[in-house]
């Protein structure tokens, strides 16, 4: 039975699961992010590598067996649109995000998880990110693709 309340509760539970895993994996740690960028531990690479490896297996199995979701619809994985020869927008946008990631020690998921930890400063990061999104929305058609 897929009532709206059930759907909300489901996504809420998925989010709670995500928040717990991100905390217990220490991926929300500013220290761990700096350690990763200085290649001083395998920890973060192990997490990302395992997540990508298992994620690839899940994605493959879902495609291989043409799995349907609970609504009965076939599952399509979204494809990122390639842009030009060098995918410049992905590279430039990636560099800018990477700089923000190292500065704050948090990516968009952990920003919210850390808010739950009681770090009110993450509210400032979220507000600043919304300003960044707004500026992108204003100028995006003038940026290199």
């Amino acid at each position: 039975m897929r009532t709206q309340i059930f759907r909300v509760l489901y996504y809420l539970m998925v989010g709670i699961f995500f928040g717990i895993v991100m905390t217990k994996s220490e991926a929300v740690s500013w220290f761990r992010i700096q350690e990763m960028f200085h290649f001083q531990s395998f920890h973060m690479y192990g997490i990302i590598g395992t997540a990508v490896g298992c994620g690839a297996l899940f994605s493959y199995l879902i495609r291989r067996f043409k799995a349907k979701d609970l609504t009965g619809a076939p599952i399509y994985f979204e494809r990122k649109t390639p842009h030009g020869k060098y995918n410049l927008r992905y590279l430039l946008g990636g560099i800018l995000f990477g700089m923000g990631w190292a500065l704050t020690g948090a990516c968009p998921g952990p920003v919210f998880v850390l808010l739950g930890h009681g770090f009110g400063v993450m509210g400032v990061v979220i507000l600043a990110a919304l300003v960044g999104t707004k500026v992108y929305a204003r100028f995006h058609d003038r940026l290199a693709a």
Partner: protein, 190 residues
Amino acid sequence: METVIHWISQPWPWYVSGFLISLMIPLLALFEGKPFGVSRNFRHMCAAILPGKDQYLKYDWQRLGWWNLTILCGAVLGGWVASTYLAPDQLHLSMAATQLIQGWGVSVGKALSPAFFINTDFLLSAKGLLVFGVGGFLIGFGTRYADGCTSGHAIAGLSNLQLPSLVAVIGFFIGGLLVSWFVLPILFMN
């Protein structure tokens, strides 16, 4: 229940964490065919709060984004649960990183984040504004320009063998290395 909580409260090895993160993909795909990605929530929030005249923010964010925004609320709750009940202070940083970061003048303890993060004085200083204000801006602008973040590109995108995601992840590291090697030491070391 006590034993379960004790067991969960232990430090988690990377292969357990990595596997559990990968579950986000089937948890979302098999339920309603949704993709894993967090940063598009910034677009939804922006569309909700300050759409203005921008076409990029003129869409039905409630219908398209409610489930992802709900996950975000859950993530905040999950952070609270984990930091309150599941032995929050257990950072196992390498000795090399501990020495490096202490060399920057930042103290390292058992806590997951530096103590200065919760210090409002730092937030109101020029450095704090740079770290949180500029850092946050770059997260918002960069993830929209790159069309994804660590979850959408590094986890979901690479899992699905997307070339643009590989390019984006290379970008994440170029930007991260630049800041972590050349900006943070200058920023903190005085």
